[in-house]
Amino acid sequence: MASSDSATQGGDLPPQRKSKEISLRQAGERIAAAKTVHAMNSAMALVRAGIRAGAKNLTVIPQVTSNLSVDLLIAAGCVEKLYISYIGFETYGFAPAFRRAAEEKSISVVESDEAFIVLGTRAAASGMPYVPIRRIYEATDLPRLNPLLKKVLDPFTGEETYAIPPLPGDVCLIHAQECDEFGNAQIWSGNQQEIDKAMASKFVIVSTERIVSVDRTRENVDKVTIPGYLVHAVVHAPFGAHPLVWARHYESDTAHLKAYFDAHAQGKVADYLEKFVYGCKDEADYIERVGVRQVMSLMRNV
């Protein structure tokens, strides 16, 4: 038979599966070309790359509790509009760039909450035109402050409900512990907000602590939280969540976070951004500036 002949005689090789790996710089350019961004907190290397690439006038839909990834984008002047659920550092206090920008009105805020972001993202992920929820928002000031919450009548009961609109994104930024070059990604110890964010977005970028072989993905298929068919680009970014905690890899870098807060308190954010974002030619340079010893000291008890 012809096919076995060509195989035995070394004819055309079977088609090769295509890798989705791109460079961090290319990822930054994708982010800078976007309008609306779904961002996971830990995608810090991607956020830094987006800032370096000149991202501007972004609309950001963050995790329901967000912190540095969004605050840094605001500090660098990349954000026009933020869908807020929570942004802050919990026991460490307010998000400094967000607070200043919101008070000075240099960004606009859509006064949302956890349900608004989760259900609006799900609507975009699943093609629902909107998600109706009970009247509970009536008991709060949110309907007055958020014009996107609209009243609709339930066609089955005639009762008033509130409609949450779909929240689609142009790009979605995710950091993974492990991901193969085809985009099958493992995110450990999270609450899986990334899956709807990915499905709600046109272009999904997964940066990863390690790029693993697809054989290794197959070994741990129960740990794969994002199937590769949802992913458009994979970026190798070790320490890509720094200075935030990253499960099974490194502890939160409280000294670095303090330096970030201090830079805000002392009006030296531009210096921080120059040293740790604009001035870094790549993430290896970033880690060297943070300090290899400092980063190694974080790799315990997590």
Partner: protein, 274 residues
């Protein structure tokens, strides 16, 4: 000026006392599911202690880490620290958590906080001042809106002063008893009981049964009724003979520092008065 909260003794810190008192009051929730979220260091310790002492059948959800019934011995600062998922029995994705809240059943209780709370237990996470020109922009509502609207919950605060406990919040981001009386039940489901207790570094408060006004329940060691009144920005209902919050027992304290908070995070946890 704000001063660190002081129990007046070296035997336990105010954060440790708060965790112990919270744990005792979870006995009534035994067998139900609840949860904690961002910044919930003290409530996380309390839930673990309650399971070891008074409520072995609690189910609890640990916010950002998605963990159900974790058994960490190193108390995390926040529910989204991966440490908060150590020893979990199951995981609950965020979408399922919001679903449970929106259903208005399944979810029994939670711990919420805020920048401001008023005499009816309404909380504000949005900001201080007129919305068009906020003096302080708050961090946002998170899951406090649905959890406060759809269930019973506990409130806790890191600071006790007249700017935090106020007569009327600037914005309602999570509903307490709204304008008091039956105003809450006209909007929220009757099964969603609203705020049950309020924990601060100075005292424990609850709400009068009919008017639903904030009422002093016990004063934490180190302080007096007078101290509480002076540091509270709204009128409090003060029942006659209100006593002190009970000190940790030896068993409670030993379990807390050996089984739950072995790093002693709560020993120097910053809480303030004034």
């Amino acid at each position: 000026m704000a001063k660190p909260a002081d129990t007046g003794t070296d035997r336990y810190s105010m954060a440790e006392l708060m965790a112990v008192e919270m744990s005792r009051n979870l006995a009534v929730d035994d067998g139900t599911l609840g949860g904690v979220g961002g910044g919930a260091t003290i409530p996380m310790a309390a839930v673990r202690l309650a399971i070891l002492t008074v409520a072995p059948n609690l189910w609890w959800f640990c916010g950002g880490s998605a963990a159900i019934n974790p058994v960490f011995t190193e108390l995390p600062l926040t529910a989204h620290d991966p440490r908060a998922s150590v020893g979990a029995e199951a995981r609950a994705p965020m979408q399922r958590t919001v679903d449970m809240g929106m259903r208005g059943s399944l979810w029994g209780w939670g711990f919420n906080g805020g920048m401001q709370v008023d005499k009816y237990g309404n909380c504000n996470m949005i900001g201080i001042g007129p919305y068009e020109k906020l003096k302080v922009r708050g961090p946002g509502t998170v899951g406090t809106l649905w959890s406060a609207s759809m269930s019973k919950y506990y409130l806790y605060f890191w600071h006790h002063n007249p700017k935090i406990i106020v007569d009327k919040v600037d914005f309602i981001s999570s509903p307490g008893f709204l304008d008091g009386g039956d105003s809450r039940s006209r909007v929220c489901l009757p099964s969603a009981k609203g705020p049950a207790l309020v924990y601060t570094p100075m005292c424990v408060m609850d709400f009068e049964e009919v008017t639903h006004r904030l009422r002093l329940r016990s004063v934490n060691p180190g302080y007096t009724v007078d101290d509480v009144v002076k540091n509270t920005g709204c009128e409090l209902v003060i029942p006659p003979g209100v006593g002190h919050t009970a000190e940790p027992t030896d068993l409670e304290y030993r379990l807390l520092i050996t089984q739950i908070d072995s790093r002693r995070v709560l020993r120097n946890y910053r809480l303030s008065i004034g």
